[in-house]
Amino acid sequence: MGRYILQRLFLFVPTFIGITLISFLITHLAPGDPAELLAGGGLGAGVAAGISVEKRGTVDQALAEWRAQFGLDRPLHVQYGVWLKNLFTLNFGDSFKDNQPVAGKILERLPVTVKLNILSLLLVYLVAIPLGVYSATHSYSFGDQVTTFTAFVLFALPIVWAGTMAIVFLGGGDFLYLFPPGGLTSIDYSPEWPLWERLKDQAWHLFLPVVLLSYGGFAGLSRYMRTGMLEVLGQDFVRTARAKGLSESIVIYKHVLRNSLIPMVTILASILPGMISGSVIIETIFSIPGLGQLGYQAVLARDYPIVMALFTVSALLTLLGILISDILLSVVDPRIAFGRRQS
């Protein structure tokens, strides 16, 4: 097993380098220059201020100075080398925007995104597992079909639409004001509030984003659960248990459910990293200061170090997720040899 893990890790190296290289090339070769972006403000302002900018030469010099400061004047392969070298010391560089270390900026926003995603993951499991169990135990019944159909409708519901509709109709515009149209806490929120008030306020703000982030997951997971359970139901030990005269509910909830829950856990590892990049839209719609928003704004501002860091962190998490679910899967089901996964 140790050898298998080592082998997997070894194979991750080229993949990882490939990902960083792709993201590096995309960010650095893309048209547009972060220095010009920063200069835009200054130049426009100069005119307004009625202050003379002697010659464009000076601005060009200013741009060159700025590029040199961030090492952007060096050849691409050198820049990439430096970036990779820094990565080994977990140094993601400084943001172009405010010279602050990228790692710090990411850590600052990480809790928000993690909170959002963990809550919605919980919600997905809490809803999808009972749904899946119901569908499996009542397979092909009318109820099963309705459940499946509903899950599908939700799956097909575009998050941009649902989010916009929620804000238009529930977010205090011209219609209802049931939920805040954005943000994480009320304006006068303070840590001195009693715990209950704080929780209530946070829940009120997080409700829509969490629901919107989750509903799409119900379909996939509940169907996964249903299949898993149907498979277990067909196995010998279930027949034996029934034959022993155990009541149906004990058979279902003690034996079948437990066995079919295990694969559900394994797919957790593969869902989590994806959700982080998936929160871009939700964080944009609800103006939540999380990683998704940070990333999107960094892309627009050509803040390369942040974009690179997000690609890297996200890729690392995913690779780790793949590894963990591989291991879990083989632990759960020894029939799966340590080899390449099928599917």
Partner: protein, 581 residues
């Protein structure tokens, strides 16, 4: 994007205007008292709160309360007045040397006295090429040298005579040397040395810049009336009135009244409005639709007053004057005739704006009142185009003209930056209008950086962009002088007119305001005739302010000035538990 630009412009231009704590003592309203808080809205976090390296509007407005310059402008007359200086500078006969005497009673927020050493340090910090402020440094390129005459007198030497130099020098934010350069690394580095290129900088200059760039981005400290208290990313920036402000009770120095400024960061304007209505904000800028549709209720009117004012900035369509199609002024005039600017203001700006015809702010004395707006008139436009040789000769419904022996259809591309809905609406409207007259327009929406790059390199046929307008003495040299076309300057449309060049040059050397105005009126008439831009409109801003604040007035040049606001004891909402550390 444009409003951001405008804001930066206003703030840099009127650095002192907003930072200024100037107010006639005798003009003080009766009954103004200190106390209460002000909850302001900010759309996004400031990038950083370093007075030199910050480059965004949000930061500038906050820093304006913390830092002060030697001079300030009266917010109403716009006249330069002393602030940290005792008086306006003594200018040498050759107009090259400026000598400032510094007040002896000014102190920083930590109690340290403010002296000439701090002023000298501040200009050195700006000039230090390794400090990450290349774009600010550009404005100070004309400063050749600076030295202390005595502890409270500083002398600046500039490169050439220029009437705005006093404004530039008076606008230097004075930073406490002991705080921003504790090891006094720049002590022996001279301004002349700092003017050298990066590679020839002394070691100390590098060490200082490294420390300065990194360490002061979230803890500003200056001499202004408000102290920095805290900054919670994505939530709020808080300023607290300095109880020991040096200007307290001083004649001729503006008195601050409100105890606390809390800038609440809310990215979404709709969310901000909801918070305003529930009392979570005291003031915010309203979007046009919020003004027109969402704030009409009696309840809102009871709690909030709305103030409308022009924002000193305008949107324009720039025609690439170097392009064969747009070289002919008749074609450019025709384009203006085809742009239904009145209707645009009505539909796109929801009536909250005004058509403009000149790059000079309407309320400046330099503005030429005699300009007659060019009306929307397709017939006239087609006539002008016909005179210029553009006709539909082959019956395909598209205008064409024989250029270099080839029949060329009238088509061009118009570029603008993404994320600006007003410009997008302008472009789409123009495209649709021109299509009806047989002119094919392709529109290209580009990301801001790419757009800027194309525009600077003259890689466009037409483009939509905005300029901030100066509320102080304007200097249009950079945008309209022919020399600024070839070196990637701001004359992006390659406008070249020798008379205009002459006017712009003379203007800068003219120290008599009357003569300057005359020069600029002529300049505006030439522009009006030649239509190198189709000037579109300037927008109006709307601010909502909670009614408990008194002294809320729109400045003659537009904008509000929270520094003048105060709350009567009886209607006070917050008692200040927060005091400056």
């Amino acid at each position: 994007m444009s409003w951001r630009k405008v804001l930066i412009g206003v703030i840099l231009g009127g650095l002192l205007l907003i930072a200024g704590v100037e107010r006639a003592f005798d003009g003080q309203e009766t009954g103004s008292v200190t106390g209460d808080w002000l909850l302001l809205h900010m759309l996004s976090d400031p990038e950083q709160l370093n007075p030199l390296t910050s480059n965004d509007a949000g930061a500038s407005s906050i820093l304006g309360y913390i830092f002060q310059g030697l001079l300030t402008r009266d917010p109403r007359t716009l006249e330069l007045k002393p602030l940290l200086a005792e008086s306006r500078p003594v200018i040498s006969a050759d107009k090259l040397t400026y000598t400032f005497k510094i007040r002896r009673d000014a102190t920083f927020q930590d109690g340290h006295p403010l002296t000439g050493e701090d002023v000298l340090f501040s200009i050195k910090a700006i000039k230090c090429p390794l400090v990450n402020a290349p774009f600010l440094r550009v404005y100070y390129a004309s400063v050749v040298d600076a030295e202390l005459v005595d502890d409270y007198t500083i002398r600046f030497v500039t490169k050439e005579p220029y009437f705005l130099n006093e404004n530039v020098l008076g606008g230097i934010d004075v930073l406490p040397r002991h705080y921003y350069d504790p090891d006094n690394l720049l002590k022996d580095v001279t301004v002349r040395e700092l003017n050298r290129e990066t590679s020839r900088q002394p070691d100390n200059s590098k060490r200082f810049a490294d420390h300065f760039n990194k360490s002061y981005n979230r803890r500003p400290m200056g001499s202004g009336p408000y102290k920095f208290q805290s900054w919670k990313t994505g939530q709020e920036v808080m300023l607290v009135r300095d109880q020991n402000y040096w200007g307290n009770g001083k004649r001729g120095i503006d008195q601050p009244y409100l105890d606390v400024y809390r800038y609440r960061i809310i990215n979404n304007p709709d969310a901000a409005l909801v918070r305003l209505k529930s009392g979570g904000l005291d003031t915010m800028n309203l979007q046009p639709l919020q003004h027109l549709r969402q704030t009409r209720s009696k309840r809102f009117q009871k709690d909030y007053q709305k103030l409308l004012y022009f924002s000193p900035g305008f949107t324009y369509i720039g025609w690439n004057n170097a392009l064969p199609i747009f070289q002919d002024k008749r074609v450019r005039r025709a384009m203006t005739h085809l742009t239904n600017r009145k209707q645009m203001v009505k539909a796109i700006l929801f009536g909250l704006g005004k058509v403009i015809d000149s790059p000079i702010y309407r309320f400046r004395p330099e503005y030429d009142e005699s300009l007659v707006s060019i009306p929307y008139d397709p017939q006239k436009a087609l006539g002008l185009l016909g005179e210029a040789g553009w006709k539909d000769t082959d019956g395909d419904g598209l205008l064409d003209k024989v250029i270099d022996g080839k029949s060329t259809p009238f088509r061009f591309e118009i570029k603008f930056n993404s994320g600006n809905t007003i410009r997008k609406s302008v472009v789409l409207t123009l495209q649709d209008e021109l299509k009806k007259h047989g002119i094919t327009v392709t529109v290209r929406q580009l990301d801001w950086t790419i757009f800027l790059d194309d525009v600077r390199n003259h890689k466009f046929d037409a483009m939509v962009l905005g300029w901030a307008m100066s509320v102080n003495e304007p200097d249009a040299f950079q945008v309209w002088h022919s020399s600024q076309a070839d070196n990637k300057g701001s004359n992006m449309i390659s406008y070249k007119n020798s008379r205009v060049d002459k006017i712009l040059e003379d203007y800068r050397r003219e120290f008599d305001p009357k003569k300057r105005s005359e020069l600029y009126r002529e300049f505006q008439r030439i522009l009006h005739d030649e239509q190198p831009y189709t000037f579109l409109f300037m927008g109006r801003s709307i601010s909502a302010v909670q009614r408990r604040f008194q002294g809320v007035k729109v400045l003659p040049i537009g904008g509000l000035r929270p520094l003048e606001w105060w709350v009567p004891r009886s209607s006070r909402k917050y008692s200040s538990k927060i005091t400056a550390q």
